[in-house]
């Protein structure tokens, strides 16, 4: 038996049916009926943010740290345009989100009504898919489709735009158990013949590398990846998005690769003879100039769920389209079946070469400095949290230091905007992480420029008692911009100095939190310990760091992977 419900009730019921326990949003005229229904129930918790960008980032942090679909709710017009940065951020990193937006009543669409924008048009290029619900009878099925599309195949954000009058109309509510779409059938199983070909290449490799990206995290394939890498004794590198996919403290891990990757990872990438790319997409920040990359002769195996990621920037020899954990499992089975074929002995020379590269100690920095070195803060954070924290970051130098110096052994612990590079992501994302993982230690590593892009969320943190630890690496510069200006623009620091900074300690206090300022390297550890002792308080830690520190190694834009600037 099904009953007649209005569109707002149907929407909330759909969320309940999907098992959504928490959504992030901000009300407005077009979504008032939806808020009314949220008010009347208590299964779906609503977190009121202070800006719609933060609603989407928070839903995104929630999704990344939990592998559940994140949900955001925003009103029409400015609610949607504010949300676009968050949606694009999720899109570039393939994060499963459902964004529900209010729209003006159907009769007003196209008439430049108050708070009307063409939401489907504005968001089209930055969503996996979007819908405008024109008919109440299609509402429940559309929402089901949205969750299905967001979470299957290569995940991504899906937006459902609901006109206000549709939330008032009534219809019988039936939530479909499953969805079949003739136009959307993501592949799962990899092609067995291709997997055999890959196994052959792998068993003949003398200088192999496994290069694994965000696809490992998104598909929960780190255990399969780890098994494969350890069984083969291959070196493994992770992209910025893949950190935690392979345990960073393991001896076979050669560090992150790419623009700010380690010397050993980048050299191994460049000079390997067999490259196993898994859930990664050879993007410009990872392999630098594709021409330089292709100069070296190597065979490439590429495993990915998205056919369009294969041979997009680099031609590959053995493409395998499929769900990463399934393909890896099959590959492991095939390799196990003829184990004699490869021996760890053949890799001895390669590991010796890698050891030489490692000796270059590319991440060294001045540990005796009288001014706080940002790297040291991240190292101490790692020690104090015993590597067990969830760490979000903003965008800039601090993001790279976080990636280089916090050794992630587990997936879904490192949460950053890798694809879009969105300053302002860190704090709201951390809120979502904390809500998905209420007991966990959550740190947000940020810079004094980035943190000011969503600083208003300190208020949300107060309201919901989110005990985040904000690690502000305060160098009084948009450090990454300053670094590029130093290297490539003749030290002309155009508009990259952060003048007129607030007193962050007082700012935190005025939002009802604890503020600390740390100026001496010797105080870092104690300050961090003290902050984490304050289990139920948000602590804003303002570390006054060396203004001139740069991120090394660095592959300048347009250069090849082995053309690194080193310390």
């Amino acid at each position: 038996m099904s009953v007649e419900l209005n569109g707002a009730e149907i929407t909330v019921r759909c969320l309940q049916e999907e098992g959504i326990d928490c959504i992030f949003g901000y009300p407005g005229g077009a979504v008032l009926f939806l808020y009314d229904e949220l008010f009347k129930q208590d299964k779906v918790r609503h977190i009121l943010v202070r800006h719609e960008q933060a609603a989407v980032h928070a839903a995104d942090g929630y999704a990344r740290s939990s592998n559940k679909v994140g949900v955001a709710l925003v009103t029409s017009g400015p609610g949607v345009t504010n949300a676009v940065t968050g949606i694009a951020t999720a899109y570039l990193d393939s994060i499963p989100l459902v964004v529900i937006s209010g729209q003006v009543p159907r009769a007003a669409i196209g008439l430049d009504a108050f708070q009307e924008v063409d939401t489907v048009g504005i968001t089209r290029p930055c969503v996996k898919h979007n819908f405008l619900v024109k008919d109440i009878t299609e509402l429940a099925e559309t929402i089901k489709k949205a969750f299905y599309i967001a979470s299957t195949g290569r995940p991504g954000p899906v937006l459902v735009d609901i006109p206000k009058d549709v939330t008032q109309q009534t219809a019988r509510f039936v939530y479909p158990d499953s969805i079949h779409m003739r136009s959307y059938n993501p592949v799962v199983k990899g092609h067995s013949r291709q997997i055999k070909k890959a196994a052959q290449l792998i068993s003949k490799a003398k200088r192999p590398v496994v290069y694994a990206g965000g696809g490992i995290i998104l598909s929960d394939a780190s255990s399969q990846l780890t098994e494969l890498v350890q069984m083969l004794n291959f070196p493994c590198t992770n992209t910025l998005m893949g950190l935690g996919g392979y345990p960073a403290t393991d001896k076979q891990f050669v560090g992150m690769l790419g623009m700010h990757g380690t010397y050993e990872a980048n050299m191994a990438m460049q000079y390997c003879d067999v490259l196993v790319a898994v859930g990664a997409r050879f993007d410009d920040r990872v392999i630098g100039n594709p021409k330089h990359f292709s100069n070296e002769n190597r065979k490439i195996i590429h495993i990915d769920i998205d056919p369009s990621s294969i041979s997009k920037r680099v031609k590959v020899d053995v493409p395998i389209v499929g769900s990463v954990p399934d393909v890896l499992k099959e590959l492991i089975d095939v390799l196990k079946a003829d184990k004699e074929k490869f021996s760890h002995e053949t890799l001895k020379e390669w590991w010796e070469q890698i050891a030489l590269w490692r000796e270059r100690d590319c991440l060294k920095y001045d540990r005796d400095s009288a001014i706080i070195k940002p790297q040291m803060v991240v190292e101490q954070l790692y020690n104090v949290t015993k590597g067990n924290a969830f760490v979000t970051s903003d965008v800039g130098q601090h993001q790279m230091w976080a990636a280089q110096f916090y050794k992630f052994d587990k997936p879904r612990r490192w949460i950053n905007s890798g694809g879009l590079g969105t300053m302002g992501f860190g704090l709201p994302a951390a809120m979502g992480v904390q809500i998905a993982n209420p007991k966990a230690k959550v740190a947000c590593i940020t810079g004094e420029a980035s943190i000011q892009m969503c600083i208003q969320e300190l208020s949300t943190c107060k309201q919901y008692k989110l005990p985040l630890k904000i690690i502000n690496l305060n160098n009084r510069y948009m450090g990454m911009v300053r670094q590029w200006q130093e290297f490539f623009h003749g030290n002309r620091y155009a508009e990259s100095y952060m003048d007129a900074l607030p007193d962050f300690t007082k700012l935190a206090e005025s939002y009802g939190h604890v503020g600390m300022q740390i100026e001496k390297p010797g105080d870092i550890e104690d300050a961090l310990k003290e902050a984490f002792k304050l289990k139920d308080r948000l602590v804003f830690m303002d570390f006054i760091t060396d203004q001139t520190e740069n991120v090394f190694p660095m592959v300048p834009g347009g250069k090849g992977l082995s053309e690194m600037i080193l310390v």
Partner: protein, 163 residues
């Protein structure tokens, strides 16, 4: 190289803009695009003519396939196919030119579908290059107006695009 790509997609509002948006967002060339519902009204058939290297064409077909509403994509250039385009041309036709233009239309198997004392409107079907050739054969100043549909294509023989 020039490729003619055919696809079937859900006949839904906004589906066309997803394809057009994809081409502009990724800076792919589009020479022509035609779309209309098929015998099954829930499906539209689209034909796209584009130019690109093999790598670009591979990306185009993959990206089209990735659109949620696209059901099937074929690159007609992968096998034998037939291509047709319809053109309507209005030409100035006075005095001795009248006979000359009629003769030309006959040679190209076109038909005159509207006549005034000063002009002919000619309907012509064929490959895009045949239509180009017809335009080239008429003196430019005599052409008053042209309208072309863009190419449609279909595989030869057993090559069938259907769900």
């Amino acid at each position: 190289m020039r490729h003619i790509i055919s696809l079937l997609m859900e006949n839904e509002a906004g589906a066309l803009s997803r394809v057009a948006g994809l081409f502009s967002a990724r800076a792919y060339n589009i020479e022509s695009l035609t779309v209309a519902p098929t015998e099954d009204a829930t499906l539209s058939r689209m034909t796209l003519v584009t130019v690109g290297s093999d790598d670009v064409i591979e990306q185009i077909t993959k990206q089209l396939n990735k659109l949620i509403e696209v059901v099937k994509v074929v690159d007609l250039n992968d096998g034998d196919h037939i291509e047709r385009e319809l053109m309507l041309v209005k030409v100035r036709a006075t005095g001795a030119d009248r006979e000359e233009i009629k003769r030309l239309a006959d040679i190209f198997r076109g038909s005159i579908i509207d006549v005034t004392s000063k002009s002919y409107t000619i309907e012509l079907t064929g490959t895009s290059s045949k239509l180009d050739a017809f335009i080239d054969a008429i003196e430019r100043s005599a052409i008053l107006e042209t309208v072309r549909t863009g190419a449609s294509g279909i595989g030869r023989g057993d090559r069938i695009l259907k769900v």
